[in-house]
Subunit: 403 residues, 2 copies
């Protein structure tokens, strides 16, 4: 084994441009039911083939009237209209509203012919078949015209929109049962490292359980991907080549593990032989030994082997790439601003992801070391320290991105 | 049909206290695999039955040494050590490191007996079996002790934690394949209203498609619940009673529709007969005709029939209740602050949810009317206007909660 130190590091911005450029939005689509559609990305333009509502309707419980019949009504001078019919929601009036008459309507009921407004029940009194109207209405008051919500022919949802509850409501309003969405990117998660075992296997000397495949899969699920964990890749060039070849049926290939320079060289060589290395080594902390390549058009990201490095780069590099592929767009991580509990020194020249928790309104760094998954699990979020900043003062206000 | 106007409105805070008090966290648990566990809530305390790492290990690629053998090393005065063995990750050394000797180790490899530090490969030169060390190390440098990440016996994850990628990583590190989480609350979504049809049915005069069951189900899924849409409830007291009885196998009952006072009275009567009305009518806009009851210990929420009213109250009232039941805790909706594009007047005495979108960095109200689902679908989020505020000035900075 010849151990070669990594070459000069690429800065994060340049690295991200390369990754984002190689990450291509998925074009494949599938049909899902409205109940399955929440959080998915619409793959068709949705144009209305009907008006919503499909008829003019009462917007209040009350009496459908000819507005002019109510003009001049007041608390001491009610206009008196004859109640000629009572209809409920879902029913249509048989009669038309003629002058000095009215029809009782429930909210949502179709407006009877002849009526152009609804007097609210609160502004009336009923005496057998006489309705005393105490307040005038103007034409169209408390009546929703046909197509007020959605006009037939209008295109209400655009391709690429994320389907949130309101947009699913629009589909329901138009009578859709299914909708065409983009497929989720399929992601091959390939663990490697002779020292790792899958959870559930019996631990033997020198071995540890695979952490990265699980943290990455969880992150992939959270960011719109479909992870598939591969068997642990053997530490040989042949194994790397045949595994990557098998993974070419996936949209994105994520290699996890291979933390040591030796293992990494083997991955680098496999990618070099099969495609192109875009970069190897990036100026972030932790997470320096990150690899980016393209094999037959497929983006391949080699994550650092250390669990914290792997996961912070998961948030920083993998998730944005995946969100471009899945078309979910940038993740709006909830964030808050709070002061540092103590001075913190960072490494100049490397963009740092610092896991933190909040204690009494102050930001407490919880980074233990890159090899410790508890560095992340004890954190509530992270702060980013740009490459050109080497010191955060005690009390300095920073932005915490919450997991 | 006798139409009764609603009684005095409860303020939002008092209403929320009632709803939140009646919403009880789910106690039932289930086992899921680590891959299914992301976003779920842990129902057990997780204590380590092993150290992580389970052995002292090299934290760098390099040479395991006795630190004292490197003292005094410098660029012009290397210490020369004999390379007696080469081990890779996953292997254990057969030999011990004796004075003036070293063993080549990869990151993650167990520390050989006798060694107490690792010299980084960058600080050395190899000449056949002689390793020139150009920089001294102190004891424990670049070596991670056994249990550094997690100590055997320590309890690392607590019941009630939401399983994010890092916490799933902790479970993987400890060799877990499955984990016990709280079951998701099962939610009965019961549409009503004689005027509604399910999407896919042929539209007939006076009828509209059900929107609320779909917006609510999407919202329920997004907030940790398992929605089940019931058949459309008939508009009779008997139907209401038998449907609610059937829904008592669910954790939460959500009635949607019944926008008119008449339909609502029927629901109120059914709930009064079977259990207790907690409130009927709340000082929010839109969403006033909201009903809260408890039937045999089950929280029941009657949502307003109008789609926008229903969905804003879904975000404002239903989602917090569900997140208490599912133990997900308050939703940290991403938010941003921006100025109002124009003056906006609100209703004093009612807490308003105003759907808005952002245009050129300014907040644009998009509220059309409560009956229009496009009031919400055209919005990117909403602002809240407290009951005691009746005016937002043009340029006033408000907080937008993003969907």
């Amino acid at each position: 084994m010849v151990m070669k130190p990594m070459k000069a590091l690429l800065d994060l911005e340049a690295g991200m441009r390369i990754v984002m450029d190689a990450a291509r939005p998925i074009e494949r689509t599938e049909q899902v039911t409205l109940l399955e559609a929440v959080g998915r990305v619409l793959a068709e333009e949705v144009c209305a083939s009907m008006d919503v509502p499909p008829f003019a309707r009462a917007a209040m419980d009350g009496y459908a009237v000819r507005a002019e019949d109510t003009f001049g009504a007041g608390n001491f001078s009610p206009r008196i209209l004859e109640l000629i019919e009572v209809i409920h929601a879902g029913e249509s009036a048989r009669l038309s509203v003629r002058p000095a008459a009215c029809i009782q309507v429930a909210t949502g009921a179709p407006m009877p012919d002849g009526a152009d407004a609804v007097v609210m029940v609160e502004d009336t009194e009923l005496d057998r078949t006489n309705v005393m109207v105490y307040k005038p209405v103007y034409p169209q008051q408390h009546a929703s015209p046909m197509g007020e919500d959605i006009k037939s022919g209008s295109c209400v949802l655009q391709r690429g929109m994320r389907l949130d509850p309101s947009k699913i409501g629009v589909l329901a309003a138009l009578g859709f049962q299914k909708v065409t969405v983009y497929q989720k990117p399929a992601v091959a998660v390939i663990p490697s490292g002779n020292e790792i075992l899958m959870p559930g296997e019996a631990l033997s000397p020198g071995r540890i359980y695979d952490i990265n495949s699980y943290t990455l899969s969880a992150l992939i699920s959270e960011n719109g991907g479909l992870p598939q964990i591969f068997p642990i890749m053997k530490d040989t060039l042949e194994a790397a080549i045949s595994t990557i070849r098998e993974a070419l049926t996936y949209d994105l290939i994520v290699l996890s593990g291979g933390s040591s320079v030796g293992e990494r060289d083997m991955m680098v060589e496999a990618v070099e032989r099969m495609g192109e290395i875009k970069f190897h080594g990036i100026a972030v902390k932790p997470g320096k030994p990150t690899l980016c390549g393209v094999v037959e058009g497929h983006l391949l990201i080699g994550m650092p082997g250390y669990p914290t490095s792997c996961l912070t780069n998961g948030y920083g590099i993998l998730a944005p790439a995946l969100r471009k592929m899945s078309r979910l767009g940038e993740r709006a991580l909830a964030s808050l601003k709070a002061p540092m509990v103590r001075r913190y020194t960072s490494t100049i020249g490397r963009h740092q992801y610092l896991p933190v928790r909040l204690d009494g309104g102050e930001v407490v760094p919880v980074f233990k070391e890159s090899g410790a998954i508890t560095s992340m699990a004890d954190a509530e979020g992270y702060i980013e320290i740009p490459a050109n900043v080497d010191l955060l003062e005690k009390g300095e206000v920073v932005e915490v991105l919450l997991f």
